[in-house]
Subunit: 401 residues, 2 copies
C-alpha cells in the first residue's frame, strides 16, 4: 500500500465531504435454504440505487484468510496498515473505556476470578459478576500503591476490567498471569525481553497486592492479567489526509479507536436514527464522518439472521437522509464479516460501495456480496479505501510530474 508519508504529501484540502458508513460485521454467508447472505436477503432499495450509480468491490481487511478483530478491521478502513499498527488486548480494552493511553502507559486486561484456599483458579470469570460489583472491586484496587508508578483501574463489563501502569521505561514484553484454564494457580508475569524485568516486577507487585485487597471477597477474590500492551503511536488522520474527521459511534471501543486516529467524537443517542441525526446536525462542521453501526455485528455473533437482515434494512431507510446532505463521497462497508452461520467474525472479504460524482460506475445493480465480486473496484485491501475516498473527493494531488 501507499505509505502514509506519500499519501500525506499528496493530500490537499478542499470543501468536499466524505461519509464512511460502517455496518459492523456486514459480510455474511448464505442461508442454507435461500442461498442468500444477510445482505442479499435484506431489501435495500436505497443502497442498491447508490450501487447502480456508484462503484463496488470486495475488500480484505487484513489479508485473504485472516479474520480481523475490531481493531485491525477499523484501522484498515481508516487507511492504517493493521500489521504495522497492532493494538494489543490491554490497549484495546483501555481504548474501549475511553482511557487515553500515553507513551508511558502499559495496559492489561483484568479478569476478576475465583481461587480456592490453596490459590488454585476455580473460575476464570468469577461467575461473571455484575458490572456494579466489578466497580466496587475496582475501587478497592485503586488503593494499591507502587512506588514510581501511577496506576489506573477501570471497569469494562461483568468480570472484565483494565489496569494501566504509567511510568517511564515500562515495556509490554510481558507474559500473562492468566493460565487460561482452571485447576492451576495464576502464573507469574515473566519478562519476555531483557528490559522487561522491572515491568514484570511491577505487574507481579500489582497482582500480589490485589490478592491481599480481594482476599475476603466472594466470588471474585483474585485478578488474572493478560494482553499487556502499549498503544502504538498513530499519526492522526488530520496529519496524513488533511481531514477534519468526526466519529459517530455508540460503543466505547469504536470511540476509542476513532480518537486514536484523531477523530472528534460526536455525542449521539444510541439508536440508528440518532446516529444519522447526529450526522445531519454536524454535517457542516467536519469534512470526514465515520458512522458506526454496531448491532449488525452483534446480530451476527448471536447467529440471528433475521435480526441482522432487519438491521441492514433499517440502515437502508436512512440513506435518503444521508444523500440529502449531498456528501461528495459515500463509502458503505463493514470492518469485517460476521456471518450468522459462524456466529463470529470471519475472514470473508467485505462488500464495499463507493458513490461519488467521479467514480467510474460498474454494472453492479444490487449491493450484495455476489454482485460486489464483479464490481469495478475489484478485490482489494481495505487499507486502500481511504485513498479511493480522497481521490473521489478530489483531495489528492497527482503523484509525480
Amino acid at each position: 500500500m501507499i505509505s502514509a508519508e506519500i499519501l500525506g504529501g499528496l493530500a490537499i484540502r478542499n470543501n468536499a465531504r466524505i461519509v464512511l458508513l460502517v455496518l459492523d460485521g456486514l459480510g455474511g454467508l448464505p442461508d442454507e435454504v435461500t442461498g442468500k447472505t444477510e445482505l442479499e436477503a435484506a431489501r435495500t432499495p436505497h443502497m442498491d440505487e447508490l450501487a447502480r450509480w456508484g462503484i463496488c468491490g470486495m475488500a480484505d481487511p487484513v489479508a485473504r484468510g485472516i479474520t480481523p478483530g475490531s481493531g485491525p478491521g477499523h484501522l484498515a478502513l481508516f487507511g492504517y496498515d493493521p500489521l504495522k499498527y497492532q493494538i494489543g488486548r490491554g490497549a484495546l480494552a483501555a481504548l474501549g473505556v475511553n482511557f487515553q493511553l500515553g507513551p508511558n502507559d502499559v495496559a492489561a486486561r483484568i479478569n476478576f476470578a475465583t481461587v480456592d484456599r490453596r490459590g488454585i483458579v476455580t473460575d476464570r470469570r468469577a461467575g461473571r459478576i455484575p458490572t456494579e460489583r466489578n466497580q466496587q472491586l475496582c475501587d478497592k484496587l485503586r488503593k494499591i500503591e507502587i512506588p514510581g508508578v501511577k496506576l489506573f483501574v477501570e471497569t469494562v463489563k461483568e468480570h472484565r476490567a483494565v489496569v494501566i501502569f504509567r511510568a517511564e521505561g515500562l515495556t509490554d514484553q510481558l507474559s500473562d498471569s492468566d493460565p487460561q484454564k482452571v485447576g492451576v494457580p495464576p502464573l507469574d508475569v515473566k519478562p519476555l525481553s531483557d528490559e522487561a524485568a522491572r515491568s514484570a516486577e511491577i505487574a507481579n507487585n500489582f497482582i500480589s497486592q490485589s490478592r491481599e485487597f480481594l482476599k475476603d471477597e466472594k466470588p471474585a477474590n483474585m485478578v488474572l492479567l493478560r494482553g499487556f500492551a502499549k498503544c502504538p503511536e498513530v499519526p492522526s488522520m488530520g496529519e496524513i489526509y488533511g481531514l477534519n474527521p468526526a466519529a459517530i459511534a455508540t460503543y466505547p471501543m469504536y470511540k476509542g479507536i476513532a480518537r486514536l486516529v484523531g477523530m472528534d467524537l460526536l455525542a449521539s443517542g444510541n439508536r440508528i436514527a440518532d446516529e444519522f441525526d447526529t450526522l445531519a446536525d454536524n454535517f457542516t462542521e467536519y469534512d470526514f464522518f465515520y458512522l458506526h453501526i454496531k448491532r449488525t455485528d452483534s446480530a451476527g455473533e448471536d447467529g440471528n439472521f433475521a435480526e441482522k437482515v432487519r438491521l441492514i434494512e433499517e440502515v437502508d431507510t436512512y440513506m435518503p437522509q444521508l444523500t440529502e446532505l449531498n456528501p461528495d463521497v459515500v463509502v458503505i462497508t463493514g470492518d469485517h464479516s460476521t456471518p450468522c452461520a459462524l456466529k463470529a467474525h470471519s475472514w470473508h472479504p467485505v462488500p464495499v460501495l463507493l458513490f461519488s460524482k467521479w467514480c467510474r460506475p460498474d454494472r453492479v445493480e444490487v449491493f450484495s456480496e455476489s454482485q460486489c465480486l464483479a464490481g469495478g473496484l475489484g478485490r482489494f485491501p481495505a487499507t486502500e479505501i481511504m485513498a479511493l475516498a480522497l481521490a473521489n473527493a478530489l483531495r489528492l494531488r497527482k503523484f509525480g510530474a
Copy 2:
C-alpha cells in the same frame, strides 16, 4: 511485484517482438448522456478483434486512488516501481528537453517571471512569453559562471525553462525559490538536509546572477526555481529484460523517459500515421517497441470528448498495419486515465489489451473499460505488464526448478 533482479535472472533472448502501444490518458469516464466512456464511444473494430482473440484487464499505474503523473505512469508500464524510481519535476523537465542527466547533475524547473521594482513577484509566468523570447533569455543566463560548477540552461516552452547544475557532491534536498503566489518576493533556496548547504548556496548564487542579467528585461526580469531533482539511476531495459528496445514518441518528455530506461529513440514525423510508418520501417531492427500516442491525453485535458473519441478511432485504423508486421505480442493500454469529464489525469485504472499466440483468451469482445473489468488479466498493477509481455513472447525462463 517481482523485482528487476529476479526478472533479469529469468529473461532469455529470442526472436520474438513486442509492441507496447500507449494511448496517453486512455482511460475515461462515462459521458453523462450516453453513459459511455471515450473508449466505449469510439468505434474500434480492429482493437475489438484483438480483444476477442486476446486477453484484457484493468491496470493501476501506481495504486488505487493515486493519480499518476506521466513519469510514474510510464515507468510503471516499463516495469519499474514508480514508488522506487521517483523523477522530480526538475529532472523530468531536463528529460523533456532531451538533456541526458548524469549522476552529478541537479536539475530545477525555471519559470521566467515578472517582479516589480521592490522585487515583489507580480506575474509568476511573465505573461507566458513566447518560446523565442525564452530562448534569448536562456542565452543570457548561459553567461552565468559559478566556480566549480558546470551550468546548463535549456528552454522548455513559453515561460518554462530548466537549469542543470553539475558538480560533485550536489544534492537535490533544496526548497523552491518559487513562492507559488504573487505579491511576495521570491524565496531563498534553503537546504533541506545537512549536506545541502553548498548546493543551496550555488542555487542562490545562480538566482542572484540571473536577477542581474535579466534586470532590464520586460516582462521576464526574474527566474523562479522549483522541483530541484537528481535523476534516479535506472537499470536499462536491456539489462533487466535482455531486450533491444526502441521508442517512437513525438513529445520530448516521453523521449526522455524512454531514453532513461535505455531505449533507442527512432526519428518519426508527428502524425499518428508517421509513428506507425516508423514502426514498420524499423521493425526488424529491435525486439521491443514503445509507440506513444500523445494527443489522446491532450484531448482529455482539454475536455474534448469528441476529439478523444476521434483520436482513438484514428489509432484503431492503424491496427491492420500493426498486425501485418506479425508482432509476437501486442499490448495496448495507457499510462493513466485522463477523463474528459475531469480535464486532468485521474486515479481510475487503465484498460489493458494483450494479444499473443500464447495468451489465454477471456470473454472480452470489445476493448472498453466495462469489459476489461471482467477480463482475464483481472485488476492488477501496471508494473506487471512487462512480465506478462515477456512471458507471452516466451522470453522468460521458469522460476525455480
